[in-house]
């Protein structure tokens, strides 16, 4: 069969393009409905989530912006002032917000000799149980005071697979979702996402994911969560080599930058070093949750 012959029906980008256009138009309709506050039924919600998972590049918050600007443009000319009691509550919230946030290096008191839990494990358990606070904790500087013990403490750094096993055994409500490959050259990749809504923590497990050169590109995780935002949540960048275990798999902790409400899919793209705010690289893996 030669290019241009009547039998050559498969090549072309035309059917693919038509499908893309059809799905893009449908997604625009659903995003419009979502932005105007229309309650999508179950089928429509599933359809929107699927389209967003299939085409994260089409996620578009301009519909929400247009609706919000219309709401502002149409505000009545007269409006009651902010009640003084509300102003007081807001001021109190602001003070409490900063009081709750860590402002300096965290100091962990090590366990008494013989207790058996390493400072790392104390930190890990606390971070997992702390849910959203984990993201703050892991980015803080952890300083461990040396105890005045006769025998110096031995800190065993757990391997990536041990950390994952700890996560699975200590975290409530972990659900797992399989990866599907979306990019040529990654067909050999397998694995899954483990995620707990309750703990707001999770892991990515990969088999045969090509090792990246961190100076050239990094993998970046995105969490598609239309209930929270039409744009995917940044799940953090990672380098495969940093997370490889002896079994050949990579175990990557999820570093969600925001609380996740109802994840529709987890997606991995390849981005420039340091990651990006909005994905520009190829979508290589997707793990839909439904």
């Amino acid at each position: 069969m030669t290019p241009g012959s009547p039998d050559n029906h498969e090549s072309p980008d035309a059917p693919k393009t038509n499908l893309f256009d059809t799905e893009a138009k449908r997604l625009r309709d659903l995003l419009s409905d979502h932005a105007t506050g229309s309650t999508l039924n179950d089928d429509e919600t599933i359809e929107m989530n699927r389209l967003l998972a299939d085409h994260p590049e089409l996620a578009d918050d301009r519909f929400e912006q247009a609706a919000a600007l219309l709401a502002v443009a149409e505000l009545p000319r007269t409006q009651e002032a902010v009640p003084p009691r509300l102003a007081e509550r807001l001021d109190a919230d602001a003070k409490r917000f900063f009081a709750d946030a860590p402002t300096g290096p965290l100091t962990l008191t090590p366990p008494a000799p013989g207790r058996g839990r390493s400072p790392w494990r104390v930190f890990l358990a606390g971070a997992v149980a702390g849910g959203v606070a984990a993201a703050v904790l892991v980015s803080a500087v952890v300083q461990i005071d040396e105890p005045p013990a006769v025998v110096p403490p031995v800190v065993v750094t757990p391997t990536p697979d041990q950390r994952f096993a700890d996560y699975q055994s200590q975290t409530p409500g972990v659900a797992e979702y399989a990866w599907t490959v979306r990019e040529q050259g990654y067909e050999q990749v397998a694995g899954r996402v483990a995620w707990s809504d309750a703990a707001q923590a999770g892991y990515l497990v990969f088999e045969n994911l090509p090792v990246n050169d961190p100076g050239v590109a990094q993998y970046q995780l995105w969490i598609v969560d239309p209930q929270r935002d039409e744009l995917p949540i940044d799940g953090g960048v990672f380098d495969v080599a940093d997370h490889l275990a002896a079994d050949g798999r990579a175990y990557v902790p999820i570093d969600a930058k925001l609380p996740v409400a109802l994840p529709a899919a987890f997606a991995v793209t390849v981005e420039k070093p340091g990651g990006v705010v909005r994905s520009a690289g190829p979508l290589v893996l997707v793990a839909p949750t439904s």
Binding site: S32, D60, A67, L70, A71, T78, A81, P83, F98
Partner: protein, 175 residues
């Protein structure tokens, strides 16, 4: 927002001073219950402070960011409660919107484009969009109010909003 994300406490107070009127106005426009509107305003600000690092000036102005987040939470509550806006008491109204003029000035260009796009819609299309977005009516309620078929209202609202969206970002329209 970037200053809040960097931990600047003074920026939090400035954020409150600047946007509390806007957030309050948007909440009261759609929520009949004063207590519920107050709770929503509190929720919105705590979320704003937490999400401050998410603000990207390349994607829109700060006021738009605040308005989008407020509307999301309003929609959440309307979906749960379906509180009707016509029940909003207006006896306590005072002259002038609670949203400060400086806040509205920041997004003056965007508001002008939205108003221009709205003016280009057919009257029934514009009214359907207003009822859905500003008054929080469902498509079915809008259809009953305007005496139009449900499918027509759905199309009016979708196409109307898409026109506004494309006016705000002409490069990002239909593929």
């Amino acid at each position: 927002m970037p200053r809040i994300a960097a931990g600047d406490r003074a920026a939090v107070s400035e954020c409150l001073d600047r946007y509390r009127g806007l957030v309050w106005s948007l909440a009261r426009r759609s929520l009949a219950d004063v207590g519920e509107a107050e709770d929503l305003v509190q929720d919105v600000f705590v979320e704003l402070w937490r999400k401050a690092d998410r603000f990207d000036p390349a994607r829109g102005k700060e006021t738009t960011f605040v308005a989008v987040l407020t509307r999301r939470r309003v929609i959440d509550r309307l979906r749960r409660r379906r509180t009707r806006p016509e029940a909003v008491e207006t006896a306590a109204d005072q002259p002038g919107s609670a949203a400060g003029p400086d806040v509205l000035a920041e997004i003056g260009d965007e508001l002008s484009r939205v108003r221009a796009a709205l003016a280009e819609l057919r009257p029934d299309q514009a009214e359907a969009l207003r009822l859905a977005v500003c008054d929080g009516l469902t498509h079915a309620e809008t259809a009953a109010r305007l005496n139009l078929p449900l499918g027509t209202v759905k199309t009016h609202v979708r196409r109307g909003l898409q026109k506004l969206r494309d006016r705000l970002d002409p490069a990002g329209g239909d593929p």
